[in-house]
Subunit: 462 residues, 2 copies
Amino acid sequence: ASKFKQLSPAEFFYNNRSMAGFDNASRAAYTVVRELIENSLDACDVYGIPPVLYISIKTLLGDDMEILVADNGIGVPRRHMADAFGRVFFGSKYYVKQNRGTFGLGGKMAILYGQLTTGEPVDVRTSVGKDIAHMLLNIDVSENEPVIVRREDERNPGSFHGTSIRLRFKGDMVSARSRILKYLRMSRIALPYSTIVYSDPEGFFFFAPALTEQQPKPPKEAPPHPYGVDIVKIKEMIESSKRGTPLNKFLMKFSRVGVDTSQKFAEYLGLDPSLQVKRLGEPEIKRIAEGFRSYRFLPPDGSSLSPLGPETIRTGLQAEYSPEYIVVETRPPSAYEGFAFVIEAAIAYGGSIPPATGQDEARLLRFANKIPLIYDSSNDVAMKVILEDVDWRNYSLDPKNDPLIFLTHVVASKVPFKTAGKEYVADREEVRREIRLAFRECARQLKVYLSRKTYQLHEHQR
Amino acid sequence: ASKFKQLSPAEFFYNNRSMAGFDNASRAAYTVVRELIENSLDACDVYGIPPVLYISIKTLLGDDMEILVADNGIGVPRRHMADAFGRVFFGSKYYVKQNRGTFGLGGKMAILYGQLTTGEPVDVRTSVGKDIAHMLLNIDVSENEPVIVRREDERNPGSFHGTSIRLRFKGDMVSARSRILKYLRMSRIALPYSTIVYSDPEGFFFFAPALTEQQPKPPKEAPPHPYGVDIVKIKEMIESSKRGTPLNKFLMKFSRVGVDTSQKFAEYLGLDPSLQVKRLGEPEIKRIAEGFRSYRFLPPDGSSLSPLGPETIRTGLQAEYSPEYIVVETRPPSAYEGFAFVIEAAIAYGGSIPPATGQDEARLLRFANKIPLIYDSSNDVAMKVILEDVDWRNYSLDPKNDPLIFLTHVVASKVPFKTAGKEYVADREEVRREIRLAFRECARQLKVYLSRKTYQLHEHQR
Ligand SMILES: Nc1ncnc2c1ncn2[C@@H]1O[C@H](COP(=O)(O)OP(=O)(O)OP(=O)(O)O)[C@@H](O)[C@H]1O
Ligand SMILES: Nc1ncnc2c1ncn2[C@@H]1O[C@H](COP(=O)(O)OP(=O)(O)OP(=O)(O)O)[C@@H](O)[C@H]1O
Ligand SMILES: [Mg+2]
Ligand SMILES: [Mg+2]
């Protein structure tokens, strides 16, 4: 007879921690560091606070490490603190807004990994500006709840706001270190406005903003765009609408659907705009979902998103590679499943960039919502575009042999990550198409530059 | 202010369906078919029932497809039926036993995908041999519960046992078809004892067992092996032990730990074997976890696992490729995180196998618990072993140019999949090491064969 059971979310990811980036001791160490840094960055720049982060990793006796990550972010309200750090699928980033975090999982996985390798509880201090809440906690895996081992409040005379988290874990820092440093170097491109101090048993890494650096506008919460919104989501939105809401009012909950558009769209569907949405039947709801795919709505409004911008990308690539030439392309906003997204792409050529050795796939720097992606590049949708979708010979370019560095940044109110460890972006049609168009435009501009340069060289030689 | 929220497991995978293999319309169609087939196969061969499966995919009006999968498996008990098909993280495969299923998610994702693309409920009939339970159901995503749209019982005069599931969905079957057929062809290697009838809008695929085919022994539930069991799992096992359980009795819950070994291990830890486990403190529990990594226990007992066996692998490779020579290696059982596993590996050479074209990574057929893995091979731990861990020149072999086909089968009470869509196996140290040893042995045997063949050729030419 089969034994049926209900698993808790914590138990699922405890059982399947490879999915969340804890495949082995080296990748686990990297993921612990990444998840804590991204939580701190979200607590800052998503709220318009210039980030200041301190990260220190020490070796303790035996092979335990201790990581401390401290930030000047908005902090966690005391009533949510234990759940924020101790309950899987609990978080503040489930709204339609650009964040690094998206799953309500990462911080908990780091804490759980520390707990399963050392038995030690995590030590968290956080404040929104009032008293500092200080807790030691563990995660009860089968119940998916925090277990508060100790709690105390501390005075906060300076009204400091921010969070500091201290975690013990066992991991292979020696082999993770080069990737952590690569993550930090790539972060210099993505975060010219932040201060990050990192120290580990082998040394230091530090960067701080230029005095002229402008804090980018924080992302805003955005209503879903109609394109790609499916039947399940439509029904959920109908469920949460007030009783008596007419169809035209309901349609105006979507991004870029105003009075006119909602009227026209209702006519397009052959539905009366004054129909109460809570009274719509299955066939009408289906018709709306199909209309959401076929009707030409105004494109999404990119103002809710916070891209890097061409200036930042150029500055970063220049500093890192001293190329001879850089092309940057920012696509207009697009959408999938109702989520707005923007693709930024760049190609850097020549200068101090060495020729590719012919065996690399292509040298590609990948970012998603400002997170540097380092693992599993061959599966990333951007690499598939470079290797399969663009015929580089049309532009006299060879990604595997020329001195080229490629860069992509997927900016979205929800990035379609393929793994819970955020290793790479899934092969989503709408995203792949936008990356393809961006790289073709970059390639075209680079070809123009190179042929002009060749022409000038010939002119010069006469 | 941040808006905190608790997400249901269904909501998490609805939001992040790329992780579960629903990246785009083509992959989604493949995953629907795969998840339903694997549920049917588990319901049969894990219970010693020779599988008979019928799979039919029809196009309906518009671009809806309808899939029907019917099996002669053990069926689902009526009291669990709605949850089995309607509640994420509910399933019967969470025990330490080899199954294709492992997450309590796949069937629900297929059903949810049908629901979000067509709005239609799934239609399931199942029986354990008594009345046939028949339900139409949807999934309430925010609550993670089934919504039974209609239910009725039907007479079962023949005491039939089995399940049939009918699902409507939109997907790109045209582009998924070749991969589904590849999955079925690879299944012929893994399932010589089963009958599978498949029909889709383009045609048929059918295989049936040879009359002499022996049903392999079904896998057995196994206690965890101590190697790699961590602090969290030890505490859970202590929690579920009876009050007053002494340490030596507790240790004997682990695979291959008998009276002698538990005594010796307790002494190795410097702990009194009669200590009550529920009274052990943090330091003692830590010491046990560390001992579980360092002490030389007897290796896992492979009898709970159900591998393919060298005969089956040879027969399958011979039928598919008509090679000149096949080497098969089965590693002795090993363990990670307490889970026993066995690696089967094979290399087929020459005959009708064409030379590799120099641009493929390596032609590798991958199986995990008899599931054919088709996507994302470059990230799979087995591909990493072939491309990074084995120096093929030592064996005068070139995977990228010679007429070689590689095969791996990871057989485990829990396969460390990297994705919820089971696309590839994670880079787990213990698994990587075993695959490496298996392929080195295969390479060594193939080299012996080829040098003997060369020698005989020279002898002949004199
Ligand atoms: N340093 C921090 N400062 C402020 N809030 C934090 C901090 N770290 C965690 N949090 C809060 O705890 C919540 C849970 O964090 P966790 O990393 O588990 O999930 P997430 O960041 O929402 O998503 P993801 O799993 O994608 O990282 C966050 O949503 C945030 O509200
Ligand atoms: N055809 C079937 N015959 C018998 N039982 C079934 C069948 N399909 C599903 N079930 C039952 O429903 C449960 C849930 O199936 P589901 O596919 O969601 O998860 P799983 O198979 O346990 O794990 P995974 O997510 O890895 O596939 C199974 O554990 C099994 O008990
Ligand atoms: Mg996070
Ligand atoms: Mg299943």
